[in-house]
Every structure is written in structure tokens, then in C-alpha cells.
Symmetry: C2
Subunit: 338 residues, 2 copies
DNA sequence: ACGTATGAATCATACGTATGAAGTCAAGGG
DNA sequence: CCCTTGACTTCATACGTATGATTCATACGT
């Protein structure tokens, strides 16, 4: 098979010559817009010639002419986190089906401007931005459509999780088990997502007649080592919380280590609830009770919304929610009796 | 800030008009090839005009004209695996520095052909293929440069791990602790990487005068659940192995669960060694002794090699090795005395 | 038999950039 | 005073595709 990725040497002109037609006809046939304009026999001849020569349209020329790259960018804060991998997968699946390609940009190194430059070079038709403030340069009038993920906004279309529902279910579960001192191990990142989680936690406590006091709260950077340190702090407070809602499974994993450090058992001495239901949640000891959502669907849904905006659909959705559910495993139990 | 990603409405002609020069001059100045051809004052005027208008060259036009997209593709088997995320990050860093963009393609869904089509559409200048057989359509005469990662090959440039060294160190560690029945929990994937790991394991045993018998071997699909099942099988054999070398940290995590299922302690009853030193390795109980390598550097190195081939450097490397080292944590200890 | 409607295919051009060839102008040598 | 040299600039064109405008031939109605 003689073919090239990228600079395909065989052009529509070659196909035209072989099929004995003009380049225009080739373009019409292969772009599908020849319906009713090109005779069936001619169309067949073109398609045959194209196949025989292994023709693939030149993306750069097509993009230049049409102004559409059929490429969208997905901006994530940390591709190391498997959640984003699954989001990408979901988005990629939907994109492939629609003839689009997804370019992933990881802004972990914080070099947002550089990333934007990369995207500009890649000529994206639209942008999926996950859980971070969209790069300023990506917005502005005349910019490409942007869909925010996991980050509510009033001025831009967004796809978010039903966080209130998720936290609510988790808190109801813990309250139902008899817990009262339910702490919150929160990510020290002031993004709307985590603010929403914090608010939902506080509201659930208030609704149960419990004061969401400061000594029930501890912040941590976004790593299991930081969470381990923060967790030791939290678990040494007196009175010790009997349950901890964590903003993320990775943080929950850190908390498990902290409990182990202090000789505490989970869920015997303290119950732990995570967030996101990463694969990790099943691998740690004990397996985590966690707030789950369909991660790939998140990506799929977001792409669909973006595509609607790219196409300029009048009824393209502005704000969409994705349901969450509580997965109960072995890290939660009634509080110690003493 | 009025700017667009993608279809930047302001073209080099606009800049030319504003600076009072021709489009050619703009191109010469901004592409850096005007050295000695364009007067300093003119160049300054062009650059000023470009900045004022917020000009960004149209990637599609540039690609069409030059035949270079300044984009490379990274093909990975499973972006959910954090290792690949780190590889991407390393590659992306090197790529950005060189003015390149990395497009990630995840072939997890097995739809390799579809992926290749996506890459073709994206017009890549080169391909980084991680640990899987390169898509046939990507090769063939006249194809773009390909660098294989973690997959030795004679006919294509490759960057691989010093597996023999890594396995050797792990086995020496276990043998030094007094283990004799050292089993191998292997990934049921016949890629060269895993074949190499298996061979290195067998060689180490033979060198120690131990028969790498079949009952020391168990295969598993690439997930912690599958490894858990396979691990239970392995750990119920008689005589039970006192140590297990796992092809991957995820498999090792599954084995830990299997041990727990059977009421065995790690490392008391059985020692476990993983591979890759994922973040997960520190989070499980007990933390895993594992064969580690500098993952981002792996990506960086691979991109550098690819770039050399794209540029057609005569001395572009064919085969490169990356060092590995053993990280000793808490999952290994001397075998039980009984 | 002639004008026209219709289907089929082609023409010509534009997208925005890069670049070899050609042009301009002033200074300097013969 | 003309011609060369050199330092700048610009011209013209090509990359490969998409598409509105156009041509062409055929069939139809009167």
C-alpha cells in the first residue's frame, strides 16, 4: 500500500485525469455535493479512480479554501488525571463520527499563552475548555465557539455536572449512617466547580441542623501527598470528624494514607467519600465510596454542544447538566460508637 | 483584545498595507528570512503593524504552501493510563519549544484505521507511535517519519527503555532478599516490550540457577480487575510463589487486591514488584516497589529523535535507550520463613 | 425548425502564504 | 557619463481545493 500521511502526493487533478473529467467534477463528487449535478456513471468513475490512486484530499488546501478545519481543541488542566483521558475519549468518539479531529492541549505547565498559540497554529473551529478559566486570547468578539466544561458561566455555553445532586446524595448517605461531624477535604483551587462542591456541602449540613464550622474544613493542593499532610492535620483535630467528604478521589486516596499514618481504620474510625470514581477508587484500600458520573459521556455531550454552536444552530444549547450518582463501596460505615 | 483563534481575519496583506510595503516583504520579515534582504527600519515597521493589527499567520495557507504542518501525531494505546499523559507532556514541551504542536490519538477503541484517517486529515509531519504496531497506512514508501516508542524495531527509528537493566535490578533485589520462587504476572499482550520483559525475567532466573517453570507464570488482560482474578489463581498455586514481578503497576495493584482477597499480607506472605512507577504506586497499600523511568523525558527524547528525522539530519539516531531504575518501597521483603 | 428549459460538465477564481525571479534606485568604479 | 554592483523591494506564481458562473449538448414544446 503506497500512501502517505500528510503530504499526499496524489491530488484531485490526478484523479480527474485518470477519470477523464475535470478537477471540479472530482471535487463535486468526493465532497458529496454532486448530487443531481453529476451523472451517476461519472461519479462512479471518479470514485473508482480515487480509490485506485489512493487519493486523500489535502486538509490544508481544504481548510484554506473553506475556512473550516474540522478540528476542535480540548483544553484540560492535567492530562495525567485519568478522568480527562476518558473525557477526551468520549469527545473523540463523537468527533470522529462527525468527521472532526480533537486536539488535546494540556495546560499543566501553566503556559496558557503558549497553548493558545499552539491552538491558533492548529486552526481550530471550536474549543472545549475543561474546568479552567478560558484563555483570554481565545475569547473576544469574532473568536471561535467555546464550550466550558465543569465550569458554569453565564456568558458562554457550558456543560456541567449536577454537583448539588451528587454532594446531596453523598451527604444523605453519610447522615443516614448516623454521621454528624462530616468534614470537607477540599481542593485549594477556587474554580467554580470546587466552590459549588463546598457550598453544597455546607448547605447539606445546615439543612441537617449542623454548623459547617471551620474546624470541619481543610484545604489541600491537588495531589495525594498534599492531601496526606492535610488529612493528618484534619484527623488529629478534637473532636475528630467521623466522616470526610473529599473533593476528588486522589485527595481521598491521600486521606486514606493519612488515616493509616495515624493508625486509624477506614471505615471503622472514619468514613471517606471521594469524587469522580476514577479507576483508582477501586484499587485503594478500602475501595472508595464516591460520587460518580459518566465521564466519557461528559466529553461526548460537550462536543455535541460545541458542534451545534460551530454549525450556528439557532437552538444550540447554552447550559447543560450531566447527572451524577453515588457509588457505595467499602470506605463508608456508621460512625464509631464511642 | 480582539483576536481570533483559527480564522484570523487579518492577513499579511492587511499588515502590508498598514506598513506601506508589499505582502512579500511582510512574509520575509515575519518568517525571519529577511535577514540582509530587508532594511532594519522596514522590518520594524512591519513588526509594529503586525502587532497593532494582532496578525497571526494563517496556518492552513502556510502548510499548503510549504508542505509542512509543524504538527506531529502521538499515538498511544490508552490515554487513561497516566504514563501516557506524562509522555505527552514531555513530548509537548519539546515540541512547543521547537514550534511544533502535538496531536494525540488514542487508539483504545481499537479503531486504528479511523485514527490514521484523523491523522491524515491533520496533516502531520511525523508520527510518534507508542508501544503498538504502527498503523500500516502510516508506513509505506514516501510516508512521514515514524519513531516507535517502547517498541524495538530494526527498520524504523525507535526509543526504548533499558528493560533488561530494569528487570535485572528488580530480580537482583528479590533474589538478594532470599526469594527463589519469583513469579511473573504478565500482560497478555504480545508486544515486543512485554516479550522483552518476559525474556529478561526468565534469563534472570536461569542465571540464578532457577527454572522459569510455567507454574510461575500467569497472564492477564490489562486491567486491575483482570489482574485480580489472575492473581488469585497464581497465589493459590502450590507451592505458592514468594514474590511476583508484575508487568505494570496496574497489574500489581490488582495482585495486591488478590492477596487481600486470600487473606495474604504483602510483603509478609508475598513480595510484589511493579513497573512504570505511576502515581498509583504510592497510593496503594502497601506502596509498590517498582521499576521506574523518567516518563516525560521519554516523550521529550522521542520528539527530539523524530524532529531530527523530519529535518532529514544525516546523523538522526536510529535506536535510543532510556535508563531505568528500581524504586524500593514497602511491597518487598524477605520471603516468609516457614 | 427555432428558442428555451434542463441536466451535465467545465471554467475561472479565490483562499493566504512563501519564494525564485525581476525590478528599482543610489552609490561607486572606469 | 555610463555601467556595474549591491542593497532593498516588489512581482508573479504555485500550493490543492471549493464553488459561483458559464458553457455545452440534448430534449422538449410550439
Amino acid at each position: 500500500m503506497i500512501s502517505r500521511i500528510g503530504s499526499s502526493r496524489v491530488t484531485s487533478i490526478d484523479v480527474a485525469q485518470r477519470a477523464g473529467v475535470s478537477q471540479s467534477t472530482v471535487s463535486l463528487v468526493l465532497s458529496g455535493k454532486g448530487e443531481g449535478r453529476v451523472a451517476a456513471a461519472t461519479a462512479d468513475a471518479v470514485r473508482t479512480a480515487a480509490t485506485e490512486l489512493g487519493y486523500h484530499p489535502n486538509a490544508a488546501a481544504r481548510t484554506l479554501k473553506s475556512g473550516l478545519s474540522h478540528t476542535v481543541g480540548l483544553v484540560v488542566p492535567d492530562i495525567t488525571n485519568p478522568v480527562f483521558g476518558l473525557v477526551l475519549r468520549g469527545a473523540q468518539q463523537a468527533a470522529t463520527a462527525a468527521g472532526y479531529t480533537v486536539i488535546l492541549v494540556d495546560v499543566a505547565r501553566g503556559d496558557g499563552e503558549e497553548s493558545v498559540r499552539a491552538l491558533r497554529a492548529a486552526f481550530v473551529d471550536g474549543l472545549l475548555v475543561f474546568a479552567i478559566a478560558p484563555p483570554a486570547a481565545a475569547l473576544g468578539p469574532g473568536g471561535p465557539p467555546v464550550v466550558l466544561m465543569d465550569m458554569p458561566a453565564t456568558d458562554l455555553p457550558s456543560v456541567t455536572l449536577d454537583l448539588k445532586g451528587g454532594v446531596h446524595a453523598a451527604m444523605e448517605h453519610l447522615l443516614g449512617l448516623g454521621h454528624r461531624r462530616i468534614a470537607h477535604l477540599r481542593a485549594d483551587v477556587p474554580t467554580p466547580t470546587f466552590v459549588a462542591r463546598a457550598n453544597a456541602w455546607a448547605r447539606a449540613l445546615l439543612d441537617a441542623g449542623i454548623d459547617p464550622a471551620d474546624d470541619l474544613i481543610v484545604g489541600s493542593l491537588f495531589s495525594h501527598t498534599a492531601a496526606r499532610v492535610a488529612g493528618r492535620d484534619l484527623l488529629q483535630r478534637s473532636p475528630r470528624p467521623t466522616a470526610v467528604l473529599c473533593d476528588d478521589d486522589v485527595l481521598a486516596a491521600g486521606l486514606l494514607l493519612a488515616a493509616r499514618d495515624l493508625g486509624l481504620t477506614v471505615p471503622g474510625d472514619v468514613s471517606v467519600v471521594g469524587f469522580d470514581d476514577m479507576p483508582l477508587a477501586e484499587m485503594v484500600t478500602p475501595p472508595l465510596t464516591t460520587v460518580a458520573f459518566d465521564v466519557p459521556l461528559f466529553g461526548t455531550r460537550a462536543f455535541e454542544v460545541l458542534l451545534a454552536h460551530i454549525r450556528g444552530d439557532a437552538d444550540a444549547p447554552r447550559s447543560t447538566w450531566l447527572a451524577t450518582r453515588l457509588v457505595i463501596r467499602e470506605s463508608t460505615a456508621p460512625p464509631p460508637t464511642s
